[in-house]
C-alpha cells in the first residue's frame, strides 16, 4: 500500500480544519443554526438570506467558541445573500478562488458550522449557470447540504473559497453563489444596504434591425423602444419611441433580457453610452443611469 489515500484524506481534513477558522455559526432563526463566512477581519459576516429571520441581536458563534452579537446590514433574496455586522475583530479571512480557476469536475468540499465544530461534505463541481443578470454566477455541485450548511463556503482542495452554498436557491440542487457575484452583492449591501440595479425608464420589445444596420453592427436584432417614462433617464437622454437600442456601454443589446442584464451591472448615477438605431442610422446617446426601485 502506498500512502496516497492517507495523504489525500489528511489533506482534506486539514483543508476543513484550516478553512474552518473562517467559518462561523449563525443563530438568526428559530430552528437549527446555520453557517456564515468571515468577510472581513473587523467583523463582517456573509450568510444565506433565507436563514436570517431576525435582524437584531443575531448570535454569531466564532471558531474559538466565543459568541458575539450581530446586526443585519442588508440582504439580497435573488442571490440568497445576507450581510451581518458584528463588533468582533481579528477574525480570519479565507482565501477566495477566482471564478476562472474553477472547472467542472473539480473536487469541492462544502463546510458548515451548525454546531460548535466545523463539518464537511465532499463532491464535485457539476455545472455553472450564469443567469441573464451579469452578476449571477452560480456553481452547481453534488455536495450534500447537511442541515445547517446554508451560508457556508464551497472550497476547493487547497482551501480557497469558490462560493457560498445555499440549499434554497433551487429545490433539490446544491448551488453556490460564486465569488464575483458574492463580491458584487456584498459590496453593494455594505455600501447601500441594498442591491442597486440600473434603470432607464423604457418599455422595449425585441425587433429585427434594418439589413444595412444589421450588417454594420454585426447583430440582427435590438430592443425597440415602445414607451418612454416621463422624467426618466431615457427621456432626459433624448430617447424616443421607435428607437432601437443596440448597445449599452460594451454590452450588446438584442432583446429585453440583454438590456436588463446590462442594466444590472451598470453603475447607478454615472453616464453610460447608449447606441441606438434611428431611421436606419446608428447614433450614440449619453444617458445617466437611474436606480430601479
Amino acid at each position: 500500500m502506498s500512502d496516497i489515500l492517507k495523504t489525500l484524506s489528511d489533506a482534506m481534513a486539514e483543508t476543513a480544519e484550516r478553512t474552518g477558522q473562517s467559518i462561523v455559526q449563525v443563530n438568526a432563526r428559530r430552528r437549527l443554526p446555520a453557517t456564515g463566512i468571515v468577510w472581513s477581519a473587523d467583523g463582517v459576516i456573509v450568510t444565506s438570506h433565507h436563514v436570517v429571520e431576525t435582524e437584531e441581536r443575531i448570535r454569531i458563534g466564532l471558531p474559538g467558541g466565543q459568541v458575539v452579537e450581530g446586526t443585519l446590514v442588508g440582504r439580497d433574496p435573488s442571490t440568497d445573500v445576507a450581510v451581518i455586522r458584528t463588533n468582533a475583530s481579528g477574525l480570519t479571512v479565507p482565501a477566495w478562488a477566482e471564478a476562472s480557476e474553477v472547472r467542472v469536475g473539480h473536487l469541492a468540499l462544502a463546510l458548515g458550522r451548525p454546531g460548535d465544530s466545523v463539518q464537511a461534505t465532499l463532491g464535485v463541481v457539476s455545472a455553472f449557470s450564469h443567469s441573464a443578470d451579469e452578476h449571477k454566477y452560480f456553481a452547481q455541485t453534488d455536495v450534500v447540504m447537511y442541515p445547517g450548511f446554508s451560508g457556508g463556503p464551497l472550497v476547493n482542495v487547497t482551501g480557497q473559497v469558490i462560493g457560498m452554498n445555499s440549499s434554497a436557491l433551487m429545490r433539490g440542487v446544491s448551488l453556490a453563489v460564486q465569488t464575483p457575484s458574492l463580491k458584487h452583492v456584498v459590496g453593494s449591501l455594505l455600501q447601500h444596504g441594498k442591491i442597486r440595479r440600473g434603470y432607464l425608464g423604457v418599455g422595449v420589445q425585441p425587433a429585427h434591425l434594418p439589413a444595412a444596420a444589421a450588417e454594420h453592427l454585426g447583430q440582427r436584432s435590438g430592443a425597440l423602444v415602445v414607451s418612454v417614462e416621463e422624467n426618466s433617464p431615457a427621456e432626459k437622454a433624448g430617447l424616443y419611441m421607435g428607437d432601437t437600442v443596440v448597445a449599452l456601454n460594451d454590452h450588446r443589446i438584442e432583446d429585453m433580457e440583454s438590456l436588463l442584464s446590462a442594466l444590472g451591472s451598470a453603475a447607478v448615477g454615472e453616464a453610460a453610452n447608449l447606441k441606438i438605431v434611428r431611421a436606419g442610422q446608428v447614433h450614440d446617446l449619453s444617458v445617466v443611469i437611474g436606480e430601479r426601485n
Binding site: I4, L8, Y146
Partner: protein, 204 residues
Amino acid sequence: MNQEVLSLLASLNADMADAIDRVHRSLVHISNGRGAGAGTIWHPDGLIVTNAHVVHGRHDLKVSLPDGRRLPARLLAADPDRDLAALSVDATDLPTIEIGDSRQVRPGQWVMAVGHPWGIQGSVTSGVVIGSGDALPEMRPGRDWIALSLHMRPGHSGGPLVDSQARLIGINTMITGPDVGFAIPVQTVKLFLKEALGSRETIV
C-alpha cells in the same frame, strides 16, 4: 495528463482496493432467519461485533465467514440502546480487523463503509466524515455518532466503517437519507464490549 499524475491516480486506486481487501478478510455475513446484515471479526477466537438491530430477538443466527464456512452463532450480549451486539462462533485463528481510534476522526477525512446492501456481498461505498460527536443536527443529543457523506444502504448495517488505512473507526448503523449515513464510533464499541464481556482476554 502527465505520467506522474496518472501514476498518482493509479496509486490512489490501488490504496483503496488494498484497504478494502484487508477489510473483506474480517467481514462476515449474518443471517437471522428473516433478514441479514454485516459484522466484523473483532477477536481471532470468534468474537464478532454488529448492530443489535441485525440480531434482535432472533435465536437462529448463522454467520458466514470470509473463508466460506457457515456457522451457527451465539449471542453473547446485545445493547438495543447503543444498537450494538456481540456474537460468538466456534472457530479459532480468524483474521481480525485493525481497530482504530474514533476520537481522532476529523471532518473531511476519507472513509469507506462495507456491508451487504441488497445482498451484494462486501459492497463498498466511500465518502467523507461530515462530523462526529453527540451534538449532530439530525440526532438526539447524548449519544456519540460519526455522520457520513456517502451512499450507505440498509444492508450496510453492522458492517465496518474504516479510515484510509483500513482501520475500524465505526459500525455502520443508520441512514437519514440517500446521501447521509451514521456510524457508531469504535470507542463506543470498546466500551460496550468491556461492560458486556469484561476484558478481551476472558472471552473464549
